[in-house]
Point group: C2
Chain length 235, copies 2
Amino acid sequence: VREFDNNVQTIENWATKNQSETVLPPLDSAAKLVKTQEVEQIASGKISPLGQLHESYIIAVDKEGLLLVDQHVAHERILFDKYRQKVGARRIESQNLLLPETFDLTPAQATAYDLVEKELEESGFGLMRLSGRTVAIKAVPADLPAHEAKNLLREILDTVDAEKRGAARDTWRDEIAASLACKAAVKVNMKLTPEKMQWLIDNLLKTASPTTCPHGRPVILRLTMRDIERGFHRT
Amino acid sequence: VREFDNNVQTIENWATKNQSETVLPPLDSAAKLVKTQEVEQIASGKISPLGQLHESYIIAVDKEGLLLVDQHVAHERILFDKYRQKVGARRIESQNLLLPETFDLTPAQATAYDLVEKELEESGFGLMRLSGRTVAIKAVPADLPAHEAKNLLREILDTVDAEKRGAARDTWRDEIAASLACKAAVKVNMKLTPEKMQWLIDNLLKTASPTTCPHGRPVILRLTMRDIERGFHRT
C-alpha cells in the first residue's frame, strides 16, 4: 500500500506540474499498483477477448479484471499439449508436399538423424534418406507451414546433436513436440479474428498449464479490478 | 529491474508448483512490472478504444501500449472545461422542463441562493423565487438529465453555504461547473458505443488537463509495450 501511495503522489505531482500542457500520464502509470498476493484458483467465468495490442497480445476481460495473453506462446502451449499426446501414439497428421524438398545434413546432423528418425516420422514428417547425407522431405506435420519444415528439421537435429544424444526417447519426443509447437503456432505481429482469439483462450484454459509455455515463459498477465480502481483513486 | 526479476521469480515458482491444476496466474501478475520513469510528451498518434472493462473503464491502445480511461472522470473533465468557458459568457444551453418543479430551500440554502443566483442562471438554470423559501425550476442545463436537477442545485447551494460565502465569483463559477460536469457526465457501469468511446478519448485530449479530473483524480492509466514485453520475458 505504501508503494502505491508513493506512486500516486508521483502521478499527482506530475499532473499539477504539467497542467498547462497537453500530456498523457507517465507510460508506467498503470504499473506498480500492486503488491504480491495470494494465488487464486482459476476464475470459472468466461474470458472475453476485446482485441489485440500491436497484433501480438490479446487483451481480454473477465469478472476479475483485465488479462493480457501472448498469442504466440498461448498457441504454442495448446499445440505442445496436443503433440505430446499424439507423438507417441503416431497420430500427428501429415500433409504431403507437392514437390518433395531435399535437405543436406551436416555430419553431426546425420548422426542425430539416425537417432531420432523414428520420432520424426511419429511427429508427422515423411522422410527418405537419399545417397550421401541428403534427406528428401515428402511430408510435413499438418499444422506446420511448409516453408518452416526445413527450419524445424534443422532445429530438432541441432538440439539432439548438442545435448540430447544420451537422453531418453521421451525427452526427444518432448523436444520435437516443443519445436513443432513453436514453429506451427501463430506468430506475434499477426492479426487475429475475434473467433481465433476466443478459440485460443478457450483451448489454452483446457491445457495442463495455461500459464506457462513449454519453454517456461508466462502466457498470461493480469490486472485486477481492485488495483485498477485503486489506480483511479476509486477505493 | 530488480523488483521485476523478483516478481518473475514469484510467477515462475507459482507456475511450477501448480502445473497439474488448471489455474490462472496471480491476479496482480501484470503489475509491479515497472519503475518510475521520465514523463513523456503526449503521443501524437491515434488512441483506439477496444472496448470497456466492466462497463466502467475504456481499454484503448496506442503505439506506446495499453491505456485505461475512467469513462466518468474523462467526461467530467471534458464537460468541466466546456462549462468553465461558457459559464461566464452565459452561453450554457438550457432545456425547459415540461412541468416546472419546486424546490424548498433551507434557511442556509436560501442565503446561498441569493449569493449565487446570477451564476446559476449563467449555468443554464431557469429559476424563479416563489413565496417563502420555495424556488421554481423552469429550465435546467441542456446536458443535465432532468432527474439530476434538484440534486445538483442542492449540492451547489450546500457547497456555497459550507465554505464559499466569502469566495470570489470565479470560484463559485468553477464550483458550479465542476458539480454540473459531474452530474451530467456518463457514469460508471454504463455501456458505451465504440463511437462514444472514441468521442470521449478525442475530446479528452483536447482539454487543458486530460490526465486529471476537476477533483484531482487520474483519468488515464498506462502500460507500455516495453513493460508488457518484459512481463512476458520477451526482452
